[in-house]
């Protein structure tokens, strides 16, 4: 009887101790694992990296992004990231406001009461304000992206930035008008005011998008041209085999022809952006932008092919 008691007592003493030891071992393992994991993990988040267009001279000296050599984001880049974040938030607010506006308007149309009218006026005012905020954010994003994109004529870029500034200023005036619109008539005036500027806003937005798409590919074209010249120089310097040299020269001629065609296409696109005296002014709409993108896609494919050709040429 006594021995059984002793056994039970020893069991009750040992079980928590064993549990404690097990817990401590697992705790230590967890700490070491977490520590080694944190030491090994290198996270690279560089969302905006593709948006950074660099000049061809810079490209040769810029180190490539690698875990050991991370590029630090420029202030403009950080600003762009923040603005994108704000845009996303404001857009979701707009969507909620638009839903509320539709419900309130429907209620008013059904009930035709003063109370429902008041609710509808407030909901309309709210959605008009959120729309203006979203558009302000968007124009700000376009401005920052244009600033970062090379490959656009400096004069044209400056003019486009001024147009974006003017559009933002006009939107600000409209926003003030909407904020003061507390009754049905003032709301109507705000709507009329927006109708006078909406066309300009769309135009300047699509113009910016067209220039952005064009400018990026123009930059890549310029870089390709520089690399092509380097390849040609290296070929003349290193290739001793006359037969192989002749073959590679012919390959370079083919690349030159392709690049010339690409340049012509790019010039054609650019000509379409610039107003010419006595001719119809260029129009920037969603349709025209779609056409620009289709043409630029061909340029993109051509450039990719030329890069593949250049790779073949530098092969020994």
């Amino acid at each position: 009887m006594q021995s059984a008691d002793r056994l039970n007592t020893s069991k009750t003493v040992h079980v928590p101790l064993i549990l404690l030891v097990l817990a401590s071992v697992s705790f230590l393992i967890a700490i070491f694992t977490a520590r080694s994991a944190s030491a090994q993990t290198v996270t690279i988040v560089d969302d905006e990296a593709p948006l950074l267009a660099t000049s061809s001279a810079q490209a040769s000296t810029l180190p490539s992004a690698s875990p050991t050599n991370l590029p630090s984001p420029s202030p403009e880049n950080r600003e762009l990231t923040n603005l994108r974040e704000k845009y996303r938030t404001d857009l979701s607010i707009y969507r909620t406001d638009e839903r509320d506006y539709q419900v309130a308007k429907e209620q008013y149309n059904k009930l035709q009461t003063l109370a429902s009218l008041e609710v509808a006026v407030q909901a309309t005012r709210k959605v008009l304000i959120s729309r203006t905020t979203v558009l302000q954010d968007y124009l700000g994003i376009l401005k920052l992206m244009l600033n970062e994109t090379s490959g656009i004529d400096v004069g044209e870029k400056t003019q486009l930035l001024q147009e974006l500034d003017a559009a933002q200023a006009r939107l600000k005036v409209h926003q003030q008008l909407v904020e003061q619109a507390i009754d049905r008539n003032l709301i109507l005036n705000s709507v009329k005011d927006f109708n006078t500027i909406s066309q300009d806003l769309t135009t300047v937005s699509y113009k910016s998008l067209s220039y952005l798409s064009y400018g990026r590919l123009q930059t890549v074209y310029d870089k390709t041209l520089v690399v092509r010249n380097e390849v040609a120089a290296q070929l003349e310097e290193r290739e001793k085999n006359g037969l192989a040299l002749g073959e590679k020269r012919r390959a370079l001629d083919e690349i030159d022809r392709n690049l010339a065609a690409t340049r012509d296409t790019l010039n054609k696109i650019h000509t379409g952006f610039v107003p010419v005296q006595g001719m119809q002014q260029p129009r920037f709409t969603s349709e025209s932008f779609g056409q620009t993108v289709a043409t630029l896609s061909q340029v993109y494919a051509d450039l990719l092919r030329n890069l593949t050709f250049l790779r073949e040429v530098i092969k020994p």
């Binding site: 857009l91 729309r131 806003l201 952005l212 798409s213 890549v220 390849v231 290193r238 450039l303």
Partner: protein, 157 residues
């Protein structure tokens, strides 16, 4: 009743008498009596157990022993927990081993000169820029907002 039984009944004294005079039952009688068992006795009339010597301080000693054991367990648990805490703090405070990142020369593909490798790298960079400049993947589409029919009363055209 048989004769044997009669003899047995006469030979066996009543239980009360047996208890009061245990010396009277001798082995020979019992062995000669075939109807009784050796050392048989009436249930409940076993001889009383002798009183065991009980230590008057036994309870106190037992309590003290249990107390000591509890203190030992607590102390052990506390010391292990303290040790764990110290180890955890040491591990957390200990500076991480700095990996020495040295610029190792990239291996040059077979048959390529360093110039060719540099050109190949340049081409890689240009291709990366080109893929980032894909016009189809422009990351700033016009915002999906209602630009035309957001009003309470339709404005005059």
């Amino acid at each position: 009743m048989t004769e044997n039984n009669k003899a047995a009944s006469t030979a066996k004294p009543p239980a009360k008498d047996r208890a009061s005079h245990p010396a009277e039952v001798n082995e020979t009688d019992v062995l000669s009596n075939q109807t009784t068992f050796f050392e048989q006795e009436v249930m409940g009339e076993s001889p009383a157990e002798l009183p065991v010597d009980i230590d008057p301080n036994f309870a106190e000693k037992e309590i003290a022993r249990k107390k000591r054991k509890r203190i030992l367990i607590l102390a052990g648990t506390g010391s292990i927990a303290g040790l764990l805490l110290v180890v955890a703090l040491l591990v957390l405070i200990m500076p991480e081993a700095q990996q020495r990142l040295t610029a190792t020369p990239s291996p040059i593909p077979f048959g390529q000169t360093p110039t060719e490798t540099a050109l190949s790298r340049r081409l890689d960079e240009v291709e990366a820029d080109l893929r980032a400049a894909d016009p189809v993947k422009l990351d700033a589409p016009f915002p999906p907002v209602n630009m035309t029919t957001l009003y309470l009363d339709a404005p005059p055209r």
